[in-house]
């Protein structure tokens, strides 16, 4: 039975007179095409969603961007603030990166119907690369088990906050379990192959002694008959590649998207000093003209729309804010460091970032639907098509993020410092505060006397004393 299934599953390597295309090959090519076709559209959709937000002019030297990309993304520098998770994460990460080399051969084999096409031409180098991957895979396997243990059996506070509802937790476990499946695939594929080589079965070229499989293979599969071994080898190969394809398809829906997006996110991360909030030139110029200073700015265009300041929805965020939201792995280091969160307030920086992604996905899906009920009411008659410009579903980020959360932020930058991939969870909070104060004229009631006092006394406190009265007590 096994042999029949193998025949169907994959080109039989020992059959030199086989027809040019076997069923397995055709199935592989179809799955490959479907995967990459789907991925193309899905990832393009995410990029278009990010592009819904405001354009950002990149400032600062390109050398700093390279530095961030290499040290923070490739080098995992910020992960190592916390050594233990960092080292296990590093195992999985390096295994993931290096395994991509092997993927080249797997895809060639799948399309061409060959078997380990690079083994003979590369010789000893092939043994070295595959052995290297095997060591990393063992480490990744251990790390994955540790992560499953940490997430499910230990109570680590950052994995158990309010925003870690059913889906984020399930998402994390799906990824970890899929990794285990993938790794089991690799070792079945290599292990059975070694035994088949030792049996001298035709079509199984010498790979040299693979460091893990040459021990594990005979141990696990020694004494199995040939057709069972071929089945295990083929099944392992298919499990591995299907897990890889599964990842590609699953990632756009998952927090695990960071394995790709962390790289652009560190590259595009803003380089301005942390203490510099984004300036609002339109307000600066208005105040300047009020004070009669600066060059006379032209009055801001046609004022038919009442200007809105700050951010109400994803359209008012910038593209780096949205890229950050899609890059977030929901690790919760930001929330674990947040003084508001630590003291039991509703604010959790991770939730802010997750909310932005959720809202962005909601907007994107509604725009994709083309449903005219999402056209802003005053445009519904004249406009034919739903566009980002006329979009209004009566919802905004304020339906996800409450004022209570926004008001709890101390702007201490602990979340910014904590993020291993340079996401800034604080900037969106401050943009939404600006919307509250400047556009809605609302906010914490305690702040109203502060604003009044700042306007009238140039001090946050209502003081009747002179500003330099303290001098009187100098001795």
């Amino acid at each position: 039975m096994c042999a029949d299934f193998t025949e169907w599953l994959y080109i039989s390597p020992q059959n030199d007179n086989a027809p040019p295309m076997e069923v397995g090959q055709i199935v592989f090519i179809i799955i490959l095409a479907l995967t990459f076709g789907f991925a193309f559209f899905k990832y393009r959709e995410i990029i278009n969603t990010i592009l819904l937000a405001k354009k950002v002019d990149l400032e600062g030297p390109v050398s700093s961007r390279f530095k961030n990309l290499f040290l923070v993304a490739f080098g995992q520098k910020k992960m190592f603030k916390n050594f233990l998770p960092a080292i296990f994460h590093l195992f999985i990460y390096v295994a993931f990166l290096i395994t991509q080399i092997k993927l080249i051969e797997i895809i060639i084999d799948g399309v061409a119907g060959s078997h380990r096409i690079l083994a003979e031409p590369l010789g000893g180098f092939y043994t070295f690369v595959v052995s290297f991957i095997e060591i990393l895979s063992v480490l990744a396997f251990v790390a994955t088990l540790v992560f499953l243990y940490r997430r499910n059996l230990l109570t680590i506070p950052r994995f158990n906050k309010a925003e870690m509802t059913r889906w984020p937790k399930l998402d994390a476990n799906i990824i970890l379990l899929a990794e285990l499946v993938l790794l089991v695939g690799i070792f079945s594929y290599n292990g059975a192959d070694i035994v088949l080589q030792q049996m001298g079965v035709a079509g199984y070229p010498d790979t040299g002694a693979l460091v893990v499989s040459s021990v594990m293979g005979p141990l696990l599969f020694g004494g199995f008959d040939q057709s069972t071994l071929i089945f295990i080898e083929k099944a392992g190969w298919w499990i591995h590649i299907l897990a890889v394809f599964g990842f590609i398809v699953y990632l756009p829906y998952s927090k695990h998207l960071h394995i790709f997006f962390a790289f652009p996110n560190t590259w595009f991360a803003k380089l301005r000093p942390r203490g510099r909030m984004e300036n609002m030139p339109e307000i600066m110029n208005e105040v300047k003209s009020m004070m009669g200073i600066g060059e006379a700015e032209e009055p801001a265009g046609d004022m038919e729309d009442i200007p809105e300041f700050g951010a109400k929805d994803i359209f008012d965020m910038d593209r780096i804010n949205l890229l950050g939201a899609f890059s977030c792995t929901e690790c919760g280091r930001c929330t674990a460091a947040c003084p508001a969160s630590i003291t039991g307030k509703k604010l959790s920086p991770r939730k802010i970032v997750m909310d932005i992604r959720d809202r962005a996905e909601e907007v994107s899906a509604k725009l994709k639907s083309g449903d005219k009920k999402y056209i802003r009411e005053d445009k519904r008659e004249e406009d034919e098509k739903l566009t980002p410009e006329n979009f209004d579903d009566g919802r905004s980020l304020f339906d996800y993020i409450s004022s209570e959360e926004l008001h709890a932020c101390t702007t201490c930058n602990a979340c910014v410092e904590a993020c291993p991939i340079l996401i800034d969870p604080m900037e969106p909070i401050l943009k939404m505060r600006r919307y509250e104060i400047l556009t809605l004229s609302s906010g914490p009631s305690d702040w109203m006397p502060m604003f009044t006092s700042l306007e009238n006394n140039a001090s946050p406190w209502q003081m009747s004393d002179e500003r330099d009265k303290w001098k009187e007590d100098l001795d």
Binding site: K81, G275, M280, P339, H407, T410, R434, I437, M450, A458
Partner: protein
């Protein structure tokens, strides 16, 4: 030093005398109006005086830098205050500023340039370090048995990446110093930043300053040192809540220099 009364002149007074001081001391709202922070202001004046640093203040011409307004979201009020300050500073052709408040320091240093205000800005701990290293002030060794710990303010530490200057000053005090568990980049906020100083905490399990004070008390210090008038208020309030205000003192670094030197 107390036999001669110390006079602090405003930039207007100095300008009238045709003098340009070495540095402008930006006092800030807390340093000007808050009774506790006024002591720090006076202590810092003493240090400057003893170091022979010529300095001026803006006096009534100084306004809030706008930091709490901007972080609360009120950009209009921020711009009004900031542009006014920049006009004043530029009128006196100020080049160098020192301030004992990390929020003033941050805003003038990082946010004023975009609005047309470019100055060399120092936090007072940075100037203190410099004065000590240049030998312009000598710090008399303190009591070796006094246990001190240090709270990093967010806006000097994490935001402006200055962890060393205050620690160099602490070294010069020669007292029994111990770091808090959460220090430097991992320092925990006092709870005052982002205009929280001017409102009640949002509902939660406890106040942020309570959390921080509990951590500090874990080190059993005699003195908690800080570099920010708002942190000092928050830490003092936290100690009061724990009824520890008699046992543990909260000081600015400047104050210990003055204390050790008996100025």
């Amino acid at each position: 030093m107390s036999e001669k009364k110390l006079f602090v002149k405003t930039m207007a007074e100095l300008a009238a005398e045709g003098k340009t001081p070495e540095i402008l001391f930006w006092v800030g709202c807390a340093g000007s109006f808050d009774a506790r922070a006024q002591k720090i202001t006076r202590a810092f004046c003493k240090v400057l005086h003893n170091a022979g640093v010529s300095f001026g203040i803006l006096g009534t011409e100084e306004s809030c830098t706008g930091d709490p307004a901007r972080r609360a979201g009120n950009e209009f009020v921020f711009q009004m205050l900031a542009l006014q300050n920049i006009q004043t500073l530029n009128a006196y052709e100020v080049e160098k500023i020192v301030t004992a408040c990390p929020h003033c320091f941050n805003t003038i240093k990082n946010e004023y340039p975009e609005l047309g205000g470019n100055y060399e800005v120092l936090h007072h701990t940075q100037l203190l370090r410099k004065l000590i290293e240049e030998g312009r002030i000598k710090v008399a060794p303190g009591d070796k048995d006094t246990k001190i710990t240090y709270h990093d303010s967010c806006y000097l530490g994490r935001v402006n990446n200055e962890y060393e200057a205050p620690r160099k000053v602490i070294d010069s005090l020669n007292m029994d110093f111990k770091e808090l568990k959460r220090s430097r980049a991992n320092g925990l906020c006092c709870g005052a930043g982002g205009a929280q100083m001017f409102k009640e905490d949002e509902p939660g399990d406890k106040r942020v300053n309570t959390e921080r004070v509990e951590e500090a008390l874990g080190e059993d210090p005699n003195i908690i040192l800080a570099n920010c008038p708002f942190c000092i208020t928050m830490l003092s309030d936290g100690l009061k809540e724990k009824d520890k205000q008699e046992d543990v003192m909260v000081y600015d670094l400047t104050e210990l220099i003055v204390k050790n030197n008996n100025w």
